[in-house]
Amino acid sequence: MSRIHVAAASAALALLLASCSRPSSLPSELKSEGQRKPAPNFSLKDADGNAVNLTDYRGKVVLVNFWATWCGPCEAEIPWFIEFEKKYKDKGFAVLGVSMDDDGWKSVRPYVASHKINYRVMIGSEVVSQQFGEIESLPTSFVLDREGRIASNHIGLVDKVDYQNEIVKLLEDPKTVAVPGTGAGVFAGLTGAGVRTGQRP
């Protein structure tokens, strides 16, 4: 009868590499105006096949959330984002969920339905990941001001209240921003109870 002998004990495979050791983000404060850099644009398809261009959201406060269906901490944030979308949509806010699932809509479509996600979700790509500084850990989120600049970013799960405080501060920022494609048009921030949303998504 044939037998096998393991010729040499193999060294233990270290499953986590040094490149994967980015620290989780601490509760952050919004970057000052001077520190904010423009978010890279992307054009990705949503579940209906419609193109979602980040620049179309200029004039809104946007939370760009990189996530995946296999990511437990991402799942924990989803109810918060659903709430934010409901609560602040009419004030000029939007959540954009960029899924990093390898199998795309096959996993994401049923997940979006089962979790009753009410914000736009797209399938991300390696290119978009690189544009945002090589997304290695999920969730990773960027909060953009009305001028499309990155006002804060979070790697890993942070407190809901941190997001909420940032969103509210940015929504209440009285600064005005130019609306692309409208010449000299000016987009007003929150003024009293009302917000001008212009021709926004």
């Binding site: 037998r3 002998h5 010729a7 495979l13 270290a14 499953l15 296999w70 901490p73």
Partner: protein, 112 residues
């Protein structure tokens, strides 16, 4: 036997994760001189994490996966190299890393 070593604070989903969306730990061997006939994973731990309402079926720390191989009758005696792939997806208490697939190699001696 494939020994594995996880960085402290991290876990990988077990081979039988507790949620359909979670990616299981999976070891596969490429066709070669031996045929894998079964795997023995350690008993998973049911761990509760701050991001999850329910405990998750995970592996942490050092552990081993044992593969049972059949030796075909026509297998040549002598040294042989087995190659395969290990797919895993790791998280810590606040974030997850993308799924990875590692090449694994095992040197064996087939004795007649």
């Amino acid at each position: 036997m494939l020994p594995l070593d996880l960085r402290p604070g991290y876990h990988v989903n077990s081979n039988t994760p507790s949620d359909e969306y979670l990616i299981p730990l999976r070891l596969t061997w490429n066709p070669g001189p031996l045929e894998a006939s079964g795997f023995a994973f350690p008993q998973p731990r049911m761990e509760k994490y701050s991001f999850s309402e329910k405990p998750l079926s995970v592996f942490t720390g050092d552990f081993q996966i044992v593969t049972h191989f059949k030796v075909p009758a026509n297998a040549a005696a002598g040294p042989a190299t087995l190659t395969g792939k290990l797919r895993y997806q790791a998280c810590n208490n606040s974030m997850c890393l993308a799924p990875k697939t590692l090449d694994v190699t095992q040197q064996v001696e087939i004795v007649k």
